[in-house]
Assembly symmetry: C2
Homo-oligomer: 207 residues x 2
Amino acid sequence: MHAMVEKTRQPKGLRDITRDAVRNSISDVAVDLSAERGFDAVTVEDIAQTVGISARSFHRYFPAKEDAVLGDSTPWGELVREVVATRPDDEPVWQCLQTAYEALLGQFGELDARMKRRLRVLGSTPSLRARNMEKHLQWEAMLTPLIAARLPGQNTTLRARTIIQASLACWDIALATWAEESETRSAGHLLALTFAELSPNTAGPGA
Amino acid sequence: MHAMVEKTRQPKGLRDITRDAVRNSISDVAVDLSAERGFDAVTVEDIAQTVGISARSFHRYFPAKEDAVLGDSTPWGELVREVVATRPDDEPVWQCLQTAYEALLGQFGELDARMKRRLRVLGSTPSLRARNMEKHLQWEAMLTPLIAARLPGQNTTLRARTIIQASLACWDIALATWAEESETRSAGHLLALTFAELSPNTAGPGA
DNA sequence: GCCTAATCTGTCAGATCCTGTCAACTATGG
DNA sequence: CCATAGTTGACAGGATCTGACAGATTAGGC
């Protein structure tokens, strides 16, 4: 089905296996129902009943209804941080970030169809977009010290936050465009397009 | 249909005056209490009781608790759109956007202290930051056609969205930094710093 | 000044989301 | 087999937000 990341921890016993399975079921049902009726028109009770669990159990798997659609993006953020950390010190930050995001796209791989549906629901629901950006704030906090250390000159933290937020905008817009029905270009290509619009200053602000 | 109501720029009757006054009172109380205890630790009931109204009336003035702190940013967005629309066609988009944001800073003017408190609460509450970005999405929708028309080459909409989101990131980060306790630089200066980090590509993507 | 209509407010009721608690159930390990 | 720990369902409760209705306040016309 889907090869999971070994980095986090692979399920040890029957408990962890069933837990991951239930988690995926909830997420799938949440995306499906939201795609049909719209996210706001679907209640937690609806999702839980479709899966076959109680509403209370739903919240034991996901803290909020939004998270059932968004999934847990923390491991992905960690992956980005990891890639950035292992890049050569003299590599320009924009190129460095683009490489990291491309690595993230590689992880998607097999989940294309599922991911597109998810992104479509995400793009059509304001509260989901908000929650998604909230998670990006955690990415920013993780990446800021790494990026700041790579920047020459002054105000490195301020400038690092600016670059990271801008790159996340590139990421979001590229993915949202990729998920559109009529879009045929690859996610990597779209990501390159958005990055190209902002990254020309690879020589640094002083150049 | 919509030609009747221009905007509540100037209250016409006693009703509108009192309504604006109550609205400001609610907003002030919401910011004050949130600054003291934290936004999540303040209930709508607390705010309403402090102002002297019922919780139901609170929701007649603000649809959500977040909006009481954030206020209505729609008129700000319209101002930005207006400034951008009146700029010369051959002006680079980044310079154009920076001018528009600076005009926005000029509008703040007298509200410095109040605005700083508001921004501090905003920066310390993830859900508020997310809601704020959600409002920026409306700005993006408003500005995208204007900016896209100014871009040469292909994929103008995709690139316009990227630039707008990036510029909004500059705006947010500059304001958040400006509101910090130890910060002494002006908001305009900080805005120039963040813009300088991304705007070097004023010659366009092909250069 | 008075009356009618529009608007605002408070109160009540309800839907939904989310959390705490507790007893019953199940897998794991000795 | 049994003890422990994790999971679940059921109930209760707080909080946000909305709809409905009745009373109060205000605006405009007489």
